[in-house]
Amino acid sequence: MCQVDEDYNGQLDRDEVLSFSKKCVKCKEATAVLVIRAGDMFCSGCFKEYFVHKFRAMLGKNRIIFPGERVLLAVSGGPSSCSMLNQVQEGLSQNAHKKLRFIPGIVYIDEGGALGLSVEERQRTVDELQSMFKATGFPYHILPLEEVFDLPSSVLEESSPSSEQPDITYKAAVDHFIQTNRNCYLSPEKQADLTGLNIQESHTHSLQQIFGSIKTLTAKEDLLQTLRQHLLVHTARSKGYSKLMLGDNCTRLAVKLLASISLGRGAQLAIDTGFSDLRYGDIITVRPMRDYSAKEVSFYNHMYNVPSVFIPTLDTKTTDKASVLRLTESFVTKLQAHFPSTVSTIYRTSEKLQTIQPSPSSSTAHNWDKCLLCMCALDTNVVEKASAFQATLISELLSQRRASRPVDTASPTLRPEFQGPESTAAGGVGCERAACGGGCCSSVKAPESTELKSLLCYSCQLTIKDMSSADLLPQYILSEAQRRKRRSQMREEIREFLLDEDY
């Protein structure tokens, strides 16, 4: 609670501090041009120093990116990721104070197909970005979202981290790097010769069909994010990168955090918003911009002419209530306008969140414990009978029954089956089976979607439920779903013969 008091005091002080032509709090000489937090005013020079330092400190402190490692920067064209690109560029330049030592590459995913933009519009954006990427001298990959239809189903498997130098410490790696291949990254890498987007029209059509089949913007945003993430990870894997950098800033993460809770992703919060994300095993996702507020990023980009491209997204020009994410964003920004520590308070909360890490051996072996879409640990296989999730399932079951049958016959059949899941100790699985046995699957809802459901976490279930048919999903998802299903059937069959600790 003391934290809250502190923040509130800051807010009260604010009015006294505000007056014209204040001096920078750091150098106390130059005129301040920007208020970062309540009372903290910086001149442009000190702000630059602070901004640059923060980026390198973030990477230095976390010691996740090793020298000489290949890192893929996911650049969307927006202010945050462009700012990240700019920081990496500056950090690698010869005269940088604390030089960055990794080898970067850029990836941009063009989502125009999901938004229904014309090929010309998409090409124009791509051209603009391409000239920006060329200027950096880094290798770059520009992909249309349509490529998700060509993904192999292995994307959805967690690969174990490559075994090379598993035990080497960060410090040893740095020393080694400095001694041996100091100059390796100086040789300019060849940039990909990319003339334009290579879009298959039939894929654009399928993509639009998927998004057309989803009713709510919330689910659309969620699915887009999932597909994009799969494509990013696949690109990183196939092009030989071992880290993926995302440009999420602190404001964005605060919004994501609250929105995720509302969407039932509470169990996945820590890895969805943390600095590093190990869910894919071999490709580690990092979020180096998570210390910057959206305001800092925008000011920096404006002052130091960092180019960014305006690209419409799904929620462009929508109202505040269009989606859960949008509503949360408006809630947070409105609160932030009156209470300047809102974002940082939410952000600090997210830093404290942790997921209990299963031991490494079990986490790699048990692919079936992971959600098919978001690759997080499943939160739907809880055995606890009295959980809120079970209650929802039972209530869903009951209401489906009511709707599909005449009222008079409903009550007698309902009774024994209602007791069914309670008497079997199997919990969730029992419910599911009772549901199928009881004939609720006789509704038009294809068995595929029920089948898919058991492989998804709670939040992804909700998203898929919003689609009119799960069969529209790209093939790699469906075939992986079938494979997992077969696997679990097989496991069920040989269950008796398995040793306990294996199971």
């Binding site: 301040a32 305006f310 419409p312 020009k317 109202t319 949008r326 964003e329 408006s330």
Partner: protein, 101 residues
Amino acid sequence: MESPLPLQSLRVGGAELLFDGVKEHQVTLPSQSEPWDMKQLLVWIQRNLLKERPELFVQGDSVRPGILVLINDADWELMGELEYQLQDQDNVVFISTLHGG
């Protein structure tokens, strides 16, 4: 009666779709009896420049939260926000930090 007030430039970043996709605007504010302040500028923008969905740019008598305002490249929070009196050749920039503009 004050003479017309030319601004050096008025830019919108990230929210240009609401302004017909135009980022940079050359603006000369018409003459009026009292000096122009930011509050009046917002009303003027809403009447003359905004092409659609004004609620996505202006809320109440200020800008929508999440849109930053820079006056002569400085944070408007340092300049008195809505009360700031516009000068000849001022440079005003609006930057949207909201997702999707």
